[in-house]
């Protein structure tokens, strides 16, 4: 596998001719494979044999990934996605999910005008399939750069012209041009969804989010407002998961992907990160980290988890592994519209946490000792009474009278209205002959080996 036929299928006309072959254009600068990534993907699919059975109306979807004031962290996160994996989406390897043709500056085979040409064709409505825009990074206010170079530019127009005749085109302009015809516009990462760090106080570029830039009335060709997948950087799987959910819905296979009032996928961002945090139990018991590296709840060293909508503690950062608080990092609210200024200075306990953390401290001081008692009892086998056969420590069964009384009532409650294992029951309930274990089934000599037992028996017989 891996070899790709030299002649590309576009020329052979074996499938719909979406773009006239790029190899025939009058300028080849940047077209190092003499075919674009789109053409290459078609060739790969053709060389692997096309599927006959279609599970829905869509065969392929173009995804244009545009970047403004970004750090490329969203791209990097998505490259780590495995649920579904990026490469499976891009090679059409997931049954029912249309082939995703990603047009991304970090992955593209071709460069320069050949790369930009596909965007131009999309704007002109000349593609053979619907397209989605994904925008990473915030959008600067290019009014501030009129007469100068844009703050965030991608490509220059007109294509194939000498450099003096061109003007650099801002990504803000590209999204304005492409958004109306897009099936959907997805903002990925906190910069694109809410402005993020470039739009923080001190912002010299007038940075804003995609929603700010396209406005309240924006609707995609399918009638959708901007879909927001926040996070700085986002969990890569949240992106591929959302894309797959949307595509499966459009194919008539999956359920409706629900979005919240800010355009976030509800199944990903509907809960606070605190609710599924691995340290939530510490919070509930009122024990808190005081130093970095401590294992308890991080609220007093700056965690905002209880008010932040994020799924990283549940989903993990990559391949279901990691996650901020799981590793020991307090939540700084990087998925939230208020990030970063409404969470600064980082590492300082959020003021709102004082009430609830002190309340749980109080509750915890009562609950923890009680839990210790029943936990201790549950750390005992049913056959351990006075002694515990552990060589690790001087463990005793609990024989104190208070413990016995507490445990008696505890068990009463535990088995109220249900069967308690091990008590005597009427024979007919166990027709196969159930018998509860006789007390002291393990006599004194249960640890002996057969030879020893034989020896003992011989001695007794004597």
């Amino acid at each position: 596998m891996g070899e790709i036929p030299e002649k590309h299928v576009g020329e052979a006309g074996s499938h719909k001719q979406h773009i006239s072959s790029t190899a025939s254009l009058p300028d080849q600068v940047g077209n190092v494979g003499r075919r674009t990534m789109e053409e290459l993907v078609e060739d790969i699919c053709a060389s692997q044999g096309k599927t006959q059975l279609s599970l829905g109306p869509l065969e392929k979807v173009y995804v244009f990934w545009l970047a403004g004031m970004s750090c490329d962290g969203c791209t990097v996160s998505v490259s780590g996605a495995t649920e579904p994996a990026l490469e499976d989406l891009l090679t059409g390897s997931i049954p029912g999910v249309p082939l995703v043709i990603l047009h991304h500056y970090v992955l593209q085979l071709e460069a320069g005008d050949h790369y930009m040409r596909t965007l131009e064709l999309a704007e002109q409505g000349k593609l053979d399939g619907p397209y989605v825009i994904t925008y990473e990074g915030s959008i600067p206010d290019e009014n501030l750069t009129v007469g100068g170079e844009p703050f965030a530019g991608e490509g220059s127009l007109p294509l194939f012209a000498p450099s003096e005749e061109r003007r650099r085109v801002s990504t803000a302009e590209w999204i304005k041009r492409l958004a109306p015809g897009a099936a959907a516009t997805i903002a990925i990462g906190t910069c694109a969804t809410w402005g993020g760090i470039p739009a923080a106080y001190g912002n010299v570029t007038g940075s804003m989010s995609v929603m700010d830039w396209l406005g309240k009335d924006y609707r995609s060709a399918l009638g959708l407002p901007v879909i927001n997948i926040p996070g700085c950087a986002p969990v890569g799987d949240n992106f591929t998961d959302a894309v797959q959910a949307i595509l499966l819905f459009l194919q008539g296979l999956g359920p409706l992907p629900e979005m919240d009032e800010l355009g976030r996928p509800v199944w990903q961002f509907g809960e606070t990160v605190h609710r599924k945090c691995g340290r939530a139990g510490y919070y509930e018991e009122g024990t808190f980290a005081t130093e970095y590296g401590d294992k308890e709840c991080l609220v007093e060293v700056g965690c905002w988890g209880p008010v932040v909508q994020c799924n990283i503690t549940e989903k993990g950062a990559i391949s279901h592994m990691g996650g901020c608080m799981n590793a020991g990092g307090p939540c700084i609210g990087c998925t939230m519209p208020g990030f970063p200024d409404k969470f600064a200075p980082f590492y300082k306990a959020p003021p709102g946490s004082t009430v609830s953390s002190n309340a749980s401290r109080l509750m915890g001081s009562i609950i923890r000792p009680l839990r210790r008692i029943s936990q201790r009892e549950r750390n005992r086998e049913i056959r351990w009474h006075d002694t515990v056969p552990s060589g690790w420590a001087m463990e005793q069964g609990d024989t104190s009278i208070t413990h016995k009384i507490l445990e008696f009532f505890y068990e009463r409650m535990q088995f109220l209205g249900s069967n308690r294992p091990g008590r005597d029951l009427p024979e007919e309930k166990y027709p196969t002959g159930y018998r509860s274990l006789p007390k002291q089934v393990y006599g004194e000599n249960y640890q002996v080996l057969p030879e020893e037992r034989a020896e003992k028996a011989a001695k007794n017989n004597k």
Binding site: V32, G33, Y105, V301, G322, G329
Partner: protein, 623 residues
């Protein structure tokens, strides 16, 4: 050690002072850029082609390139590198609580994770006067070793790799593709690709085995990274005075398993890049000139020794030289210094051709000396003010948002290859059982995995070009892997001794404080320069590897590394008519630096242009 251009001398004890008798020691006369001859040539000749690549893809971030190619002489006459964003992070950081710098500066670049957090952290530690406990330092080292284990494969197989794939070679050099298919790969037994053609097929985007495995392998170190540091690319556990990771045996075991997974693959991939490089050299020795430059490089070293690092400026030379990657400057292939203080004193940034006001003009230079009392240039980042001045590009005046950082007023490039070079040359690597710096090479031993144990040696190359950059990057995977492995063993050892503290307590100081984080990114050199006052940031400056590599022409007339590399690149692709020219050789040259524009353009990179006249530096410095 001597500076060639800066007016600083060192006495026998290594104490720096300004050379006597110079009236205005740092003053210089900017050189004008002339372009008339070139314009005349372009107007007269049809075979002189204006080449505009906007954007350059398969690099991180937004980069464009403009060049003028002479398609008859098969060479480049002009080269301008253009980065196309400006975000102003340095301005956003002003007036904030210094602790915020860690998380905010991290967002300068999401391509390698945690490098900015850590550099910010070291700058803060210097300013606060605190340093991490041993396990804190070891964890940091481990984080950055894991980071590069994702970063280098990403570049080799997804960004640069396709330029050496069947798809591209077949399209631009059909004869080479024919040859590759019948050339056996010398190390096939290890890496399992029988011919060079098989390797090229493996590199095909989205279908080749090397491409897809490369993508999958980038996830393995990121999993370990997320377990220990929360998430990738912006880690959540870097704090002043250490780390906030809650470490358990499971975390380290999971990391250990992932390093072991990488080990087999890395052994194979190093030899594979060796085979590919040698094939190109043999096929046509002219490939040795693609992306060629004199070996002038800079690195700050990284991976601190857990007992030497105390974050102080006074002792930076000592703890710098104790690092697992030795700091250094290489001039014409010779190591001229390994002292962090000297590297720092030689650093200057120029903005003659950038969209910034020259801050030195307003006369209030904050620091005449560094904290040790040595002379500091007004153009040093500690003295720099970011004053954006957006304007229209003009070849003769300002044409970039990127600044021109220089060392001793000479052009140096940064990269992981600079790191392995300075480490190999310096023979200062801590004693250990896996790696050894010999003065002319870096040897490392990789234990048995599925493959038997193997010894590798990266030899300092005689020539410096695009292929050597990529080859060195492949060897860096092995080097980083063994650093990571060593760090896990160190962490185990510290835990065995009961040293499980990962952080130190601190207070935010109120007076004027100054700090610098000397660190490294996936692409090499990284420094954060911090000035605090009244508990808030008054100045924050970041110098990244790609700030050097994508830099514009400086006031002394020297072009930046990308442009110089392109200007030295011969045109070797096949084409019948000028319109069939793709520029693949030039793209290979640019991509070999692993450009990372987000880093560069926390400021911005702009357009620069050069004329074919490269000032080479003949520094005859004594060690």
């Amino acid at each position: 050690m001597c500076f060639k251009n800066l007016p600083i001398e060192f006495d026998a004890q290594g104490v720096a002072s300004l050379k006597g008798g110079v009236a205005d020691p740092y003053a210089y006369q900017p050189r004008e850029i002339k372009r008339d001859k070139l314009e005349e040539l372009m107007a007269r000749n049809g075979h002189i082609k204006d080449v505009s690549i906007s954007p350059v893809t398969r690099v991180a971030g937004a980069l464009s390139f403009h060049a003028v190619a002479d398609l008859q002489e098969k060479k480049f006459l002009e080269a301008n590198s253009v980065a196309t964003i400006f975000r102003g992070y340095e301005v956003i950081l002003k007036g904030r609580d210094p602790r915020d710098a860690i998380y905010i500066s991290s967002r300068a670049c999401g391509v390698c994770g945690g490098v900015h957090s850590t550099a910010a952290c070291e700058a803060i530690e210097m300013a606060f006067g605190i340093s991490p406990p041993p396990l804190g330092t070891v964890l940091r080292n481990l984080a950055l070793a894991l980071d590069f284990l994702y970063d280098h494969p990403l570049h080799l197989f997804l960004l640069a790799g396709p330029d050496y794939s069947q798809v591209v070679v077949q399209a631009t050099n059909p004869a080479m593709w024919e040859k590759a298919q019948v050339t056996d790969a010398p190390n096939a037994e290890v890496h399992q690709f029988k011919t060079i053609g098989d390797i090229m097929k493996g590199l095909n985007p989205l279908s080749g085995k090397l491409y897809l495995d490369g993508l999958k392998m980038t996830r393995v170190p990121r999993e370990a990274y997320s377990v220990l540091f929360g998430k990738y690319p912006h880690p959540q556990t870097v704090v002043p005075g250490g780390m906030s990771s809650t470490v358990t045996i499971t975390d380290f075991n999971e990391t250990y398993t992932r390093l072991q997974k990488m080990m087999d693959w890395t052994k194979r991939m190093i030899l594979l890049w060796d085979d590919l490089t040698e094939f190109f050299y043999e096929y046509n020795p002219e490939y040795k000139k693609v992306g060629a430059r004199d070996a002038n490089m800079i690195d700050l070293g990284m991976w601190d020794d857990e007992y030497s690092y105390d974050a102080s400026y006074a002792r930076c030379n000592e703890w710098g030289e104790a690092r697992w990657a030795t700091p250094g400057v290489v001039m014409n292939g010779e190591l001229v210094t390994t002292k962090l203080q000297q590297i720092n004193l030689g650093l200057e940034e120029f903005v003659e051709h950038s969209y910034y006001e020259d801050w030195t003009q307003n006369g209030n230079i904050r620091f005449q000396t560094d904290p040790a009392g040595s002379p500091l240039s007004p153009n040093h980042p500690w003295n720099k003010e970011t004053m954006p001045k957006p304007s229209k590009e003009s070849w003769k005046d300002r044409y970039t948002w990127d600044t021109a950082p220089r060392w001793d007023r000479q052009v140096v490039e940064a990269g992981c290859y600079a790191r392995i070079w300075t480490t190999a040359a310096a023979r200062k690597m801590p004693k250990n059982q896996f790696m050894e710096s010999t003065g002319h090479s870096l040897k490392f031993h990789m234990p048995k995995t599925m493959l038997p144990e193997m010894d590798f040696e990266w030899k300092i190359p005689k020539i410096w070009n695009a292929f050597e950059r990529n080859r060195a990057r492949a060897y860096c995977m092995g080097y980083n892997l063994m650093i990571g492995y060593t760090m896990v063993l160190k962490a185990f050892d510290l835990l065995r001794q009961g040293e499980d503290k990962v952080s130190t307590k601190f207070e935010v100081p109120k007076g004027e404080r100054i700090g610098v984080g000397f660190w490294g990114a996936g692409r090499g050199y990284l420094s954060h320069h911090l000035v605090l006052d009244k508990g808030a940031i008054v100045n924050y400056q970041i110098v990244t590897p790609s700030t050097f590599n994508a830099s514009p022409r400086d006031p002394f007339g020297n072009p930046g590394p990308y442009e110089e590399a392109v200007l030295n690149t011969p045109i070797l692709e096949d084409f019948d008519k000028p319109s069939d020219f793709t520029g693949v050789d030039m793209l290979r040259a640019i991509r070999s630096f692993d450009p990372c524009m987000p880093c560069t353009t926390h400021i911005y990179g702009g357009e620069k242009e050069i004329i074919r006249e490269v000032n080479t530096c003949a520094c005859d410095a004594e060690g």
